[in-house]
């Protein structure tokens, strides 16, 4: 068991280590080609329709972001296709009833079996876990590039849908 003055020495050396690491980290970041700005923009944003979206969402360029109410309305009309952008394991644990799983991280693997079922003019709503995930946004962008025109993103996602006690399903 270290004595008290020894403990002070240990703590001082620990601070020195932290300082050394941080200073070199910041220096390295300045000169590294993959360096990033020290002050990132990470807050969630609110669109003109008062929907909370992740920082990387670009209103105007990206497909429109919709609220829970809107998603629910579209769910009831039953014409809209809900695409779950999460991984199959999460999908199996529970998803919006009737949703189709098209994981963004495994897009190429699943696209060939899922996309033929969806007409390019059909209305699509993508979603993932909740506002902190971006899979729904990235999937929507991917589909936009493939020529799908009527895409919307439900950023509230699984968390909001389940939290509101709406229709869900577990399994495949």
């Amino acid at each position: 068991m270290p004595t008290r003055p020894a403990l002070t020495r240990i703590l001082l050396k620990t601070l020195l280590l932290i300082f050394l690491g941080s200073a070199i980290g910041i220096l390295y970041n300045v000169f590294s080609p993959s360096g990033i700005t020290l002050k990132g923009s990470w807050s969630s944003k609110i669109t003109s329709d008062s929907v909370v979206v992740p920082y990387s969402y670009k209103e105007g360029n990206d497909p429109p972001a919709i609220s829970l109410d809107y998603a629910q309305m579209k769910f009831q009309s039953a014409k809209t296709i809900f695409l779950d952008a999460r991984l199959p394991a999460d999908f199996k644990e529970g998803h919006i009833q009737g949703a189709i799983n098209l994981p963004h991280e495994e897009f190429d693997q699943h696209a060939s079996s899922v996309l033929p079922k969806i007409p390019t003019s059909g209305e699509i709503i993508t979603y993932c876990d909740g506002t902190e995930c971006e899979a729904s946004l990235l999937l929507a962008r991917e589909l936009q590039e493939l020529g799908y025109k009527n895409i919307k993103i439900f950023f509230g996602g699984w968390a909001e849908w389940q939290g509101a006690g709406l229709a869900i399903k577990t399994g495949e």
Binding site: T14, L17, I18, G21, Y28, I36, L38, G40, W42
Partner: protein, 161 residues
């Protein structure tokens, strides 16, 4: 009683401490490399933890991997051994808290522990167990490392000679 004494000797054995030091040191150095190479992806993972205020995310993502790197390196060579093991244990406690908060929230997120790949580890509770094992190693090294096979003792011996 003898068996307790023997047990005590084994868990505080200086050679075991050396093994812990090397294992933990290499783990931390290894874990820092991918994060150092991909600060942007790592910052995104830190953001996903939803714990740090947005203003601190990038600074944390730029500095933490290097602190891990040096703490690991110092532990391997046995320079500032107590401080390095203390710092590593402290970081592990922070990681355990951060992972637990998100498990409690029901978010199974990408750990960002060893890899910044978005399809990487999502192992939740298993991760916590691993962290506790590392933490045990860190704490025992802090208390029972007696300078065995460290650069510091090597140098101080030279000076006294």
């Amino acid at each position: 009683m003898k068996i307790f004494k023997l047990f005590g000797q084994i868990v505080t054995d200086k050679r075991l401490m050396l093994v812990f030091r090397l294992v933990l040191g290499f783990i931390f150095v290894y874990a820092s490399l991918d994060k150092i190479a991909h600060p942007e992806q790592f910052a995104r993972i830190v953001y996903n933890y939803k714990i740090l205020p947005p203003l601190l995310i990038n600074i944390y993502a730029v500095t933490l991997p290097w602190v891990e790197f040096f703490a690991g390196l110092f532990l391997i060579f046995g320079v500032f051994t107590e401080s390095a093991s203390f710092l590593i244990s402290f970081m592990l406690v922070i990681f355990v808290i951060a992972i637990s908060i998100n498990l409690y929230r029901g978010v199974n997120l990408n750990c960002g522990c060893f890899s910044t790949n978005p399809a990487g580890q999502k192992e939740g509770a298993k991760l916590l167990i691993k962290d506790f094992v590392f933490l045990y190693m860190g704490i025992t090294v802090f208390f029972f490392n007696r300078g065995f096979a460290t650069l510091s003792t090597l140098f101080s011996k030279k000076i006294t000679n």
